[in-house]
């Protein structure tokens, strides 16, 4: 097939004798097929496009999505890529009206989706040109645009084909702006108004009245009352309703509703303090298709609440984080629900062995269970969970401190399909790890503050869990280079590792980890033995590195920064506090064009002028944490200039701190928790 196409292509090109580049013979379809497969690393596409001119042109033609770094380059890249339909500007802290005008004129009708959630400095002028020129715009994300006013919302309303709109935290937009959107964007299917504090019943009501296609509605933290509810519940296709923290809605108003919403599939009523099971049952009456219910930080979990969920045969996921829970309530919940797949009882008070055991024995198909900080449960619960729920894929049980080390052996023996396991702050030991290593699908393992584990246990994980992508060893103080070596040699797909405060880690761990080419997050706070050599190895080996935390690694200096600056071109976030990096190292980081986030506190070798030079050189910075002393040492116009570029400064006034003993730190933590 391929050959045929090539020959056809060849015939076509016969007339052009001067063409002697073999790559030019590849047909458009083939190049497109190759490009379709090059999804893992954006750099792959880049290098592929540099093969020859024709491939370069084809790549330009093929590309549909773009995530530019700076607004300055927008005119040129948009000129190169004429068929962009999705534009993600979340890496551009500064997008002004001019840029939006450039985008709207370059993309025209091809643009369907734009993400401005992390950008600032644009106003209604830019949005208006976008809405008027890009007629096919379907998705617009304007979250965090805290400076936008109603005029901007009115501009958005000109995008008549809009289907999804995110306006989270647009605090200055009022009912007037929302009213314009409601009237203008009739095809709207999703609208998120979370934290739009200026929007009240009137605006929400108008949305519900005018936009009949709404599927998803996020009204979290809006000052709404019962007045807008009747029209919301009349929405024919509404599937997803979030009303987190709507304090104005209470039982009385909900019971007054004549009919619930029949089409509802997902309901979030977290932090609604004034709603009990009475109001809830009124709201979900008739919603037979409800699949997911979130009632975090809400009413107590009692048999009455469980009873109100009785008729929801499709209910699969229940999240009750932070609720008061009674054993009877959990028991009733177990009896009333039919096919529970996902249950979250994170930070619930009152979860006991009795309640939890009776629930999990009823729901053997449970896939995800979150019992974080259920401090009363013991081995008995774990025994029931592991014996009943053999298909569990995710178990989060951070800080279940009464669970003994033997219980973890049971988990490994019986729940072999686990993919995510959070055992932070538990009593698990090497025997438990050995057992857990039987979960061959494990991809995320959190073993932070597990003081009983050692290299031996970690070696089992490294040997058997080859799919591990995420490993957290925060303050698991017994871990040394040997354990890390086992992980690095067994888990090649590792993407994230946290070895903070594992004080015995040396450069050899880093050198072994440099084999994990997909590593993007590397945290090694407070590992005093690590030097620039190890960092250099990571920089060379892990090209995907985006997040690096080497706070309190005193032995890392400018020599570590230079290779980083050269090789880690994807680095976004770096924490250098308490290291030995000086002006030179910091300035060299400026060559990393993606670098956005920088924390530089207590760098002894850093001078004000060096810092100023580095700040000016790093053009893409969005957030910098600095010691407050620099505020007076550097000229004010400099900060003004940087802020105008989109950079936010966070000033810290912490004293230089010596590191505490890990055991002592753990004791301190326990004192704090009641």
């Amino acid at each position: 097939m391929k050959r045929q196409k090539m020959t056809i292509e060849f015939d076509d090109n016969n007339s052009n004798k001067s063409n002697n580049n073999l790559f030019d013979l590849l047909s458009e379809e083939i190049v497109f097929a190759i490009l379709d497969l090059l999804n893992t690393n954006p750099l792959d596409r880049k290098s592929f496009s540099l093969v020859c001119k024709s491939v370069y042109n084809l790549e330009s033609k093929h590309r549909k999505t773009l995530k530019p770094l700076r607004q300055e380059h927008l005119p040129r890249i948009l000129n190169r890529y004429p068929h962009i339909s999705h534009l993600d500007l979340s890496l551009c802290p500064r997008i002004n009206d001019n840029s939006l005008t450039v985008i709207s004129n370059a993309c025209k009708d091809s643009l369907r989706s734009i993400d401005l959630s992390r950008s600032r400095f644009f106003s209604y002028n830019g949005l208006m040109s976008l809405a008027l020129n890009c007629k096919n715009l379907v998705d617009v994300d304007l979250s965090n645009a805290t400076e936008l006013r109603d005029a901007a919302a009115a501009a958005v309303a000109e995008a008549k084909n809009l289907e999804r709109l995110w306006l989270g935290r647009c605090k200055l937009i009022t009912d007037m702006g929302i009213g314009c959107i409601a009237v203008g964007c009739k095809k709207l299917r999703l609208i998120s108004l979370k934290w739009c504090l200026g929007v009240t019943d009137l605006g929400v009501d108008l949305i519900a009245v005018k936009c009949k296609e709404i599927r998803s509605l996020d009204l979290s933290y809006l000052p709404i009352t019962n007045k807008c509810l009747p029209s919301i519940l009349k929405l024919q296709y509404l599937e997803d309703l979030a009303m987190e923290g709507c304090f104005g809605i209470d039982d009385d108003s909900l019971t007054a509703l004549k009919h619930g919403c029949k089409s509802l599939k997902r309901l979030d009523m977290s932090s609604c303090q004034n709603i009990s099971y009475v109001g809830l049952s009124s709201l979900i009456s008739g919603a037979g298709g409800l699949e997911q219910l979130t009632l975090a930080y809400g009413c107590p979990v009692t048999p009455a609440l469980a009873n109100s969920l009785k008729n929801l045969s499709a209910l699969q996921s229940v999240k009750l984080d932070g609720c008061m829970v009674t054993s009877a309530g959990l028991k009733a919940l177990g009896n009333c629900l039919i096919s529970l797949r996902e249950l979250s009882l994170s930070k619930c008070l009152g979860v006991t062995d009795e309640g939890l055991s009776s629930l999990v024995t009823k729901h053997r198909e449970l896939r995800k269970l979150d019992i974080t900080c259920c401090r009363k449960i013991t081995d008995a619960s774990i025994a029931h969970i592991s014996s009943s729920c053999g298909n569990l894929t995710s178990l989060r049980m951070e800080s279940c401190t009464l669970v003994s080390r033997e219980a973890f052996v049971l988990i490994g023996q019986r729940c072999q399909f686990l993919e995510e396991l959070d055992l932070t702050d538990n009593e698990i030991d090497d025997e438990g790890l050995k057992s857990i290593s039987r979960c061959s699908k494990l991809s995320s393992l959190k073993l932070g503050i597990c003081l009983n584990i050692s290299d031996e246990g970690l070696a089992y994980i490294g040997m058997h869990c080859s799919k591990l992508t995420e490993l957290d060893l925060y303050r698991s103080a017994e871990i040394t280079d040997a354990g890390i070596l086992a992980i690095a040699s067994g888990c090649h797909d590792l993407e994230m590792i946290n070895m903070s405060y594992c004080r015995d880690i040396t450069d050899s761990s880093l050198i072994s980890l440099s084999k994990c080419a997909r590593l993007n997050t590397f945290e090694s706070r407070g590992c005093p033995l690590i030097t620039s050599l190890g960092i250099a190895a990571i920089a060379v080996g892990c090209k995907q590195l985006t997040k690096l935390d080497i706070k309190k690694c005193h032995n890392i200096d400018d020599n570590g920064m230079l290779p980083l600056a050269h090789f880690s071109q994807n680095l976004r976030q770096i924490t250098l506090s308490y290291s030995s990096v000086t002006d030179v190292g910091l300035l060299s980081l400026a060559s990393i064009s993606c670098l956005q986030n920088m924390t530089v506190l207590h760098l002894k070798g850093l001078t004000p002028s060096g810092l100023a030079a580095a700040l000016l050189a790093c053009g893409g910075l969005t957030k910098v944490k600095l010691h407050v002393a620099f505020k007076s040492l550097l000229p004010h116009p400099l900060f003004e200039h940087l802020e105008a570029r989109g950079c936010v400064f966070e000033w810290r006034d912490k004293q230089f701190q010596a590191e505490l003993d890990p055991k002592c730190w753990k004791l301190q933590l326990e004192d704090m928790i009641p």
């Binding site: 209604y124 109603d150 005029a151 009115a154 009912d175 009213g179 314009c180 009237v183 605006g203």
Partner: protein, 484 residues
């Protein structure tokens, strides 16, 4: 010119309706009329060259003059009023001046006397009629008798009051001279005058007084000095008896008596007059307080008591009121007549429905009212109508706007264009305010009587502005400017 004509027609629509009846009336007081007519011509000349409004009044007067020839009665007020206008203007006509100087106008006196004469004749006729009917109507003799008694009493009181009032005008006093320069203005233009529309109104009233004469059989009091004393016609009442009951109140016919005030009475600022000095008051309590100054006999508890209470022993019929405007639903001749409950209702109804909306809101320069209380109510809320729809409708409440938008397709909330710049109002609104201020200051200077030769011109400018705020740049206004 078409436009002007149309405007005139609109303005004078009321008079034309009654114009046909005018010839029926018998002129008894020609000298008085001539005086008036002469004045009005002066008046007309004065305005003619200053503004478009001159031409408006001009044409209206042309319409008016022939009609007024048949007019039998003229209140002395228009003279006073024109006096006032002349004072405002430095270009005082000699003839006018001679008219103005004496406080006592013999012509007006003659006018009043002839009116009294006529009134007595009417009463005589009425009593004749009662005597004639006594044998015929036996159905409800008691009721009819009471009604007739009341009617006669009312008429007699009216005549007495008129007589005293006429006599009172002969009393020379400095106080009266002073009040004569101010009260006539109040009586005719009322408080309208400071707003710059007094002229127009007064002219209209003079004119309407002509039409009023048409239904002379009903009317009894032109000067309005009788206050609330009513003109009453027994034929009318009998006609009403045969009509169906009113839907509004469901009062059975005949269970109430219909009273009809005349335009002057309705529009007069004062309804209670001192029988000694002629000073007018809005409330009878104020009049009684005033009367104490005229002698000790007015200080007795009996004199200070509310007068109406004495008659309470007799069975009193419910009073309902009719609007004097022919063709109005509130007029007793209307097929579906709905009576007005109180005199206040009559006043407000008449001003709202049949008068120019001469009070313009100084804030928005758009809304106009004929009742000053309405203006005040509006001004309290004016500028707070910040909720604007794309269709141009404003709402004082956001929920009303949203209800409107929810109801209509394609309507959308309108956001002020400079919203991003700050909370300040739209720039064009600022200009309007400026204009409004200007207008306000001109009004003020005029109202305070400090205006000189250009006073009239100013008024005209203001008039144009106030009357037609939407057409600041209309050709009409241009004319005004050119004339000025």
């Amino acid at each position: 010119m078409d436009k002007k004509d149309r405007l005139c027609q609109e303005t004078w629509a009321k008079s034309s309706s009654s114009g046909n009846e005018l010839p029926k009336n018998i002129s008894t007081e020609k000298p008085s009329f001539i005086n008036f007519n002469f004045n009005s011509q002066q008046y007309e000349q004065k305005w003619e060259d200053t503004s478009i409004f001159g031409s408006r009044t001009n044409s209206s007067f042309q319409e008016f003059n022939p009609q007024s020839e048949t007019q039998s009665l003229l209140p002395s007020n228009p003279n006073d009023h024109i006096k006032m206008a002349d004072q405002e203007n430095s270009q005082i006509n000699e003839t006018l001046q001679t008219n103005k100087i004496p406080d006592w106008d013999p012509r007006a006196m003659l006018n009043n006397l002839s009116f009294l004469e006529q009134k007595i004749h009417q009463l005589q006729d009425l009593v004749h009629l009662i005597v004639g009917r006594r044998g015929q109507v036996l159905g409800r003799p008691d009721e009819l008798v009471t009604q007739q008694q009341q009617l006669v009493t009312a008429d007699l009181t009216s005549i007495i009051v008129q007589l005293i009032s006429t006599a009172g005008s002969l009393l020379p006093s400095v106080k009266h001279t002073l009040s004569a320069t101010t009260t006539p203005v109040g009586q005719l233009g009322g408080i309208l005058f400071p707003s710059g529309t007094g002229m127009n109104n007064s002219v209209q009233q003079q004119h309407s007084s002509g039409s009023k004469v048409s239904d002379q059989s009903n009317q009894m009091d032109v000067t309005g000095n009788c206050g609330t004393e009513q003109n009453y016609s027994i034929e009318e009442h009998e006609m009403k008896d045969e009509e169906d009951a009113e839907e509004g109140e469901n009062l059975p016919p005949g269970s109430y008596e219909i009273l009809q005030l005349e335009k002057e009475e309705i529009l007069a600022p004062h309804t209670h007059f001192c029988t000694i000095c002629g000073k007018g008051f809005k409330r009878d309590a104020n009049l009684r307080m005033h009367m104490r100054g005229h002698g000790d006999e007015y200080k007795t508890p009996a004199a200070l008591a509310k007068p109406n209470k004495e008659a309470s022993s007799e069975p009193v019929l419910i009073k309902r009121y009719s609007c004097p405007f022919t063709g109005c639903k509130r007029n007793k001749d209307h097929k579906k007549f709905q009576p007005l409950k109180t005199i206040l209702c009559v006043k407000n109804h008449y001003k709202r429905t049949h008068c120019d909306k001469s009070y313009t809101c100084s804030r928005c320069n758009t809304k106009k009212f004929s009742v000053i209380a309405d203006l005040k109510t509006h001004e309290k809320h004016c500028g707070k109508d910040k909720w604007l729809c794309s269709c141009g409708t404003t709402f004082s409440r956001k929920d009303k706007l949203f209800g409107h938008i929810a109801l209509f397709q394609g309507h959308t909330p309108a956001i002020p264009p400079d919203e991003t710049k700050g909370p300040a109002g739209p720039s064009d609104k600022g200009d309007e305010n400026e204009v409004a201020n200007k207008v306000g200051s001109i009004n003020y200077s005029f109202g305070s009587g400090g205006a000189n030769g250009t006073g009239a011109q100013n008024v005209m400018d203001v008039k144009g502005g106030v009357d037609d705020p939407a057409s600041y740049f209309s050709p009409l206004n241009f004319d005004t400017c050119n004339f000025g």
